[in-house]
């Protein structure tokens, strides 16, 4: 009879012991979560004030971020969006830290994976931001230089440069995030190579007359300019 009772009580005792170990961990997780969320809220508030002080929204307007957000149907202020992003990133980090306090091997492994992924996520975000700014700058440089020389297709040329740079940046981001790197590399090579071949064929075969006309027009304009423009602007 005693054996039978032990047979019933042992698992309960074991469950109780496990529960005794789990409860402090669980409480630690709740404390971490609570503290993390409070800290995230405080940082969010300070960040909002800092961004307002440095006129981040006006800067975003100038850099074209606001326009980009509107295209994606985001109607909040850029500073508010950045505050939300920072807040939720901190909440996720807090959640992961809290979960690791539970000391459950499977969750620990997941948390480790998450934290080892953060540097990649960070560098991908940097590539996105710098790449976006740089592609905008380069395409506008091309647009203005081409328009100032009277090139009819300046806008088209600038858009093509912008698109190619964005494709390049997206490929770099995917590669950085280790999202199907071999497929991304192959797809990028095919798309980029395809564009170059398409342009070569279009100009070399299909659009040979159009290409000749464009080149002749450009050459004659330059000749014209050399022959006839004699005014001294300064």
């Amino acid at each position: 009879m005693e054996d039978f009772i032990n047979l019933i009580l042992d698992p309960l005792k074991e469950l109780f012991l496990k529960f005794k170990v789990f409860v402090p961990n669980f409480l630690a997780m709740l404390v971490i979560l609570f503290a993390g969320i409070v800290i995230a809220l405080i940082i969010k508030r300070f960040l909002a004030k800092f961004l307002a002080a440095i006129n981040f929204d006006s800067w975003s307007d100038r850099m074209g971020f606001t326009k980009l957000m509107r295209r994606g149907s985001m109607w909040s202020k850029p500073s508010a969006v950045l505050c939300e992003i920072v807040f939720w990133l901190m909440v996720i980090v807090t959640l992961m830290s809290g979960l690791s306090a539970l000391q459950i091997p499977a969750i620990d492994q997941l948390v480790n994976q998450f934290f080892s992924y953060i540097p990649r996520l960070f560098s991908a975000a940097m590539i996105l931001i710098i790449g976006y700014l740089l592609s905008g700058f380069i395409s506008r440089t091309v647009l203005i230089a081409a328009a100032n020389s009277g090139f009819h297709y300046a806008k088209l040329l600038a858009q093509a440069v912008h698109t190619m740079l964005i494709v390049l940046i997206l490929a770099m981001i995917m590669e950085q995030l280790h999202i199907a790197p071999s497929i991304v590399l192959a797809a990028f090579s095919i798309v980029f190579g395809g564009i170059v071949i398409a342009i070569a064929i279009a100009f070399g075969v299909g659009g040979i007359d159009a290409a000749r006309r464009i080149i002749e027009k450009e050459a004659s304009q330059k000749r014209d300019e050399r022959q006839r423009d004699e005014i001294d602007h300064i």
Partner: protein, 410 residues
């Protein structure tokens, strides 16, 4: 060079010539200056300084070897004081500003009372130019002498349509050629220039001309101008890019608006500055201009840069620009009021840093070309006086609309 300066000791007049690969033309400039000093300032100790940017065509050798051998052929008497010549490569950021800085430093070391600078590619310089730029300093008590040239009515369009009207309206002095390139200034003004912390900025590279003029006016120095006759200089580099030229001149002008905002915001109205020299008409070579190509560039600008212009000018003025683009060449006319709004809106966009400076100002090029084409079409049958009257009307428009700039400048 220090030893050379110590040997010279001091000088009353310092004449500076900045150069970079000007071996073909600098000899004539040096000889004209030499003759001018001998003829008009025989009792003054003078030094000619060639501040060179590292020429590889022997410019400095030409300077050393250029002098008037036979003074009897041009003068009735020889000068009393000899003229010293110094030619050396300047240090610092490559550019005309750095070359000038060295000339100012030499003027300070030698204790010069009067200085003048001349471009090294001048073909029309005469000995009288030295007298006209130096005498108002030595005898008239002026600190800064700006040049006044007779130029073809289609020449100097950046000066005529932007720099002159804007500078005159902002600072209240009608200095006709604020970026002429040949100036006279007092030794004390040269010292004042050296106190300014601009020698590591774009002023060292380009924009020194407008910087010197504006600094002199805005800081209350006595300013005048001298009529020098026609300005003919070496054929410009055919590869020189108009939008780069526009960027250099306009960015320097806009940057000075930032520096002296407290000055120009208080200025109301304008006044003429005294003019020295005997004005006479000079024959100028005809100039060929292709207005059809210019208008094509303007229309391509509307097509391609419309989004940027809309952002800078606003819907009202951009609508007017679009309307101009639809006009046939024969009816094309860029109204003065609209052009003033364009310049002021660009100045405000620069002030508010709406986009990178180079993009901002270079995007103005087709608008400037459109305005220039309009002026050429309008003035093609006009005489010089009538063309000048049109520029005066434009200046009046700048002055009448200054309140818009003042009101929107925060």
């Amino acid at each position: 060079m220090r030893e050379h300066l110590e040997r010279i000791g001091n000088a009353d007049i310092v004449i500076g010539i900045p150069s970079f690969n000007n071996a073909r033309t600098i000899g004539h400039v040096v000889r004209a200056i030499h003759a001018g000093l001998a003829k008009y300032f025989p009792e003054h100790k003078a030094v000619i300084v060639n501040s060179d940017g590292g020429s590889t065509d022997g410019t400095m050798d030409v300077v050393h070897n250029s002098s008037i051998e036979d003074f009897n052929s041009i003068l009735l008497h020889h000068r009393v004081e000899p003229v010293s010549k110094i030619a050396f490569p300047y240090s610092g950021i490559p550019g005309k500003g750095s070359a000038f800085r060295t000339i100012f430093e030499i003027a300070e070391v030698l204790g010069a009372k009067a200085c003048a600078v001349f471009d090294s590619d001048l073909r029309s310089i005469t000995p009288e130019w030295v007298e006209l730029l130096v005498t108002p300093i030595l005898k008239g008590g002026y600190d800064y002498v700006s040049p006044l040239y007779h130029r073809h009515k289609f020449d100097g369009t950046i000066t005529n349509s932007i720099v002159y009207p804007l500078t005159r309206t902002l600072y209240g002095k009608r200095v006709r050629q604020p970026i002429g390139g040949d100036f006279g200034f007092s030794g004390s003004l040269a010292q004042f220039y050296l106190t300014k912390d601009v020698w590591q900025t774009d002023v060292a590279r380009f924009g020194i001309d407008i910087w010197m003029t504006t600094t002199a006016i805005a800081n209350g120095f006595k300013v005048t101008q001298s009529f020098l006759g026609a300005k003919i200089h070496d054929a410009k580099d055919p590869g020189a890019d108009l939008s780069s030229m526009l960027y250099q001149v306009v960015s320097a002008t806009f940057e000075l608006m930032e520096t002296y905002a407290e000055v120009w915001l208080q200025v109301h109205g304008t006044e003429p500055v005294p003019t020295f020299g005997f004005e006479y008409t000079v024959g100028l070579e005809p100039v060929n201009v292709n207005t059809a190509r210019m208008l094509n560039t303007f229309r391509e600008g509307i097509r391609n840069l419309g989004d940027i212009w809309l952002d800078i000018l606003g819907a009202g003025d951009f609508g007017e620009i679009e309307r101009l683009g639809a006009l046939p060449d024969s009816e094309f006319h860029f109204p003065a009021g609209l052009w003033v709004q364009v310049v002021y809106d660009y100045a405000l966009a620069y002030h508010k840093r709406k986009m990178p400076v180079e993009h901002l100002i270079k995007s103005m090029t087709p608008l400037y070309i459109g305005k220039t084409a309009s002026f050429i079409l309008q003035a093609k049958d006009m005489g010089q006086m009538e063309a000048d009257a049109e520029i005066e009307k434009l200046c009046q428009e700048f002055e009448n609309r200054k309140h818009y700039l003042v009101t929107n400048w925060k």
